[in-house]
Subunit: 481 residues, 2 copies
């Protein structure tokens, strides 16, 4: 039953090739909603949890299923071996292969590369799921299941977008490549190396990279143009040579844990102000244009508080909340193991990770020195990931805005992500290509938590957005790249 439309489309290709027709594509997509839901059901049923080594066979099966789907559509598909990962116990485990695929290689056209992932966060019914997380369940038009929104439905929506062109015998307006990985949820292990290795081959003719691994901010569609960077630190206070029993020595020994708590408490004020000198000064000032842009974004502070379950935020008005989520830095203390603490500073333009490293290290050492402790402090920056920021006036974003306008009859909110999507920065740095983040997930999809869902509306309209965006990208002048 799968081969019939394929054979049909191939037959049609040999006769007439049609140009982009939005109405036909939208109608085709609407009429295939149930098939799309079934495809998502099949994918969600595969427990492709990349954090659980026992699920690695399922993850391999997920990559195979993805490759198989793209092969059936006639793509030039490869399963790229990216090696092994080392487990904490020293054993090694094969990484899931990365699926790369290509549809079309007309050098007169632009080439886009869609990045996505088909691994998921862990999920167990007993964690508080209302439904079986691996059995896609439709409740009032919401499709509940682990990985539904992050990132299986968006990947499928891109596949359906290409399929729709094929089925209607419409010419793909641009060449479309795919890079689908299976380790995103645990840090995209191995992907960097693959991107570097294929920079001058697979990625050489790519013009634009599209990432749909995020969500809207509200019910209004959005384009994402920035993410915060991440300077991740460890701070260790080294004390006496022996592991001293607190009862036996407590009272005369200056305990490393007390020192550690003291320096951590110097990082941030109760109201959330970063106390490390120089950090706030480095932040690019909020311009009037930006202020106005934030003011126009559809975002309700009360709904947001309600959604995340807090009574009070650090700020009460929309602009402040959005600015502090996206374009101001923040310090988070993640935890303490032994006498080593982990904390991170989410970073924004114009901060420089190397400068942040020095600012934090110098400051903590000065705070520590004032304690006059005989212990030793060691501060290490483990990760120094830069923020990513795109130009929202770039033709790629203009194409995105036009696509949103056409499908949703509204302008998109231009938003950022408070988190870090390191792969965006890697793509940018290694390939030098322009990147757009085009989310189709809902603001309340519950990524990484219980009861993750994707709505039928976002899934289907998102597929329409993708077919349209391909057409809009094709209109970008080659010279403007």
């Amino acid at each position: 039953q799968m081969t019939f439309p394929l054979v049909l489309s191939i037959l049609l290709v040999t006769t007439t090739v049609r140009a982009f027709q939005y109405t036909d594509l939208a109608q085709y997509i609407d009429s295939h909603e149930e098939e799309y839901v079934e495809a998502l059901r099949d994918w969600v049923a595969i427990e492709s949890d990349s954090a659980n080594v026992l699920k690695r066979p399922d993850l391999h099966r997920m990559m195979e299923a993805t490759a198989q789907k793209l092969r059936q559509m006639g793509g030039a598909v490869e399963l790229v071996d990216i090696g092994e990962q080392e487990l904490p116990d020293g054993q090694t485990l094969a990484l899931p292969k990365v699926v790369s695929a290509q549809f079309g290689n007309d050098t007169r056209k632009h080439t886009v590369c869609v990045y996505g992932h088909v691994d998921v966060q862990p999920a167990k019914k007993e964690d508080g799921w209302a439904t079986d997380p691996y059995n896609l369940t439709d409740i009032n038009g919401n499709l509940y299941g682990r990985g539904a929104s992050d990132n299986k439905a968006p990947v499928l929506a891109w596949i359906h977008a290409v399929e729709a062109y094929q089925a209607l015998n419409m010419e793909l307006p641009v060449n479309v490549k795919f890079v689908i990985e299976g380790m995103e949820e645990t840090g995209s292990n191995g992907l960097d190396v693959m991107i570097v290795a294929q920079r001058d081959t697979f990625f050489s003719d790519v013009d634009y990279i599209i990432i749909s691994d995020c969500g809207w901010l509200s019910r209004r569609p959005a384009l994402t143009y920035g993410t915060r960077g991440n300077c991740y630190f460890t701070a260790e206070v080294q004390g006496p040579k022996q592991d001293l029993h607190s009862g036996v020595y407590g009272g005369v020994v200056i305990e490393p844990m007390t020192d550690l708590i003291g320096i951590l408490d110097s990082l941030i004020s109760p109201s959330g102000t970063i106390l490390v000198p120089g950090i706030r000064e480095a932040v690019a000032p909020l311009s009037d244009e930006e202020w106005k842009m934030y003011q126009d974004i559809q975002f309700d502070v009360d709904s947001y508080k309600n959604k995340i379950g807090v009574d009070q935020l650090m700020y009460n008005n929309k602009v402040d909340v959005l600015a502090h989520l996206w374009r101001y830095p923040t310090v988070s203390i993640h935890g303490i193991e032994g006498v080593t603490a982990k904390f991170s500073i989410r970073q924004v333009p114009n901060m420089d990770p190397q400068v942040v490293k020095n600012q934090v290290t110098d400051y903590l050492h000065s705070v520590f020195a004032k304690r006059k402790s005989p212990n030793k402090l060691k501060v290490t920056m483990v990760i120094g990931a830069k923020p990513w920021l795109a130009d929202t006036e770039h033709p790629l974003y203009e194409a995105g805005k036009a696509a949103v306008k056409r499908v949703f009859d509204t302008d998109p909110d231009l938003i950022r992500e408070g988190g870090t999507i390191p792969i965006a920065k890697t793509f940018q740095d290694v390939t030098g290509k322009d990147i757009i983040m085009m989310p189709i997930g809902g603001f309340d999809d519950g990524l990484h938590s219980q009861n993750e869902k994707m709505s039928r509306y976002n899934y289907i309209e998102g597929t329409k957005l993708f077919v349209t965006f391909l057409d809009e990208v094709s209109k970008i002048k080659k010279t403007s790249v």
Copy 2:
């Protein structure tokens, strides 16, 4: 070869019974040094690690070996079933039985009960041991092995003390009972219930309880007359209903971890002052007599710093160091799991755990309130163990001093323990008996750390101390009890 001296002593008992003769006992003990070392070697070879459930068969074997030894000496021995322990995974595991034994039941004599334990802390060669921790190794008169000092040699020394009387056909000056457990290192699970259950039977005729589960402070012998109590707290900061991703929400949400660090940092100043109001005021003032007593104790601050591997203590003079180790309270922060911190206040007279609980809870809530955080703080006192303090002028301590004087030709240091020995307080509260702590371990035995050892000197002279102490106890007037 074990039965020969036993049979011999039984034969002698039927002929003549001699009175206490220190010289003969000391000579006998000296001439049996190698046998005592071999006995310790056999016990150390049993990996009676009570923390490791996989070693539980070894622990059972250790309790059997202890019982068997006491049976061979003609004691009335019982292996008391104290039930099961529940493991974190919900499974249950049989606790090691408690060995009780009795030698003599002459109602005209005092009855002492020796408490000890034969379980040990975990030890692995690769933790940094210079020798195999379970193969007793003699280096320059020091016997290295896990449990050598804590607490196998002291328990054996008590056994050898009774044996020496028997072998020399000397009448035991007092009735001697033993209570030897196998769960001390993990919290004496089940022992409380056994003490309560046997209060009116096994413990009813006991006059004095002797604990030799501690060490000297220096090369000078010591009697221990106090331990600090322990108020153990958890503090949890409850935040948003969801587990929020720090990148996505950081900057607008007041993070529970930041609040938790802030309140922990309010407990103690960098120089070690407890900041909880009322705590310092409750501490019994240091009297001139106490100051003088501390001044006379043999204790070198520099050696102490060297031993524990710190360059600087909170105090530089002996009296301050000892006072802050033993008779002033201290706050230790043990760690943070999730957003729950664990900390404890070592407690001293005249602090009251219930008052400490209120002081700490009120203070932390007031500190937390000043933060104006929307999160919730929950403070719980998990343990409220009182300090233990004995009267050093009590006839039992006078007997101890006399015994030390006789064996070592010096007065003992009268010392305290900075830690908590909850079983001392349990014995005191449940049985109402007087307790003496009579250590024979060296100050540098390395309890709980790598390269634990017991010196031949302390082991042998300690056995002499025990035979002598029994004689001294017999001189206490029955009425003075």
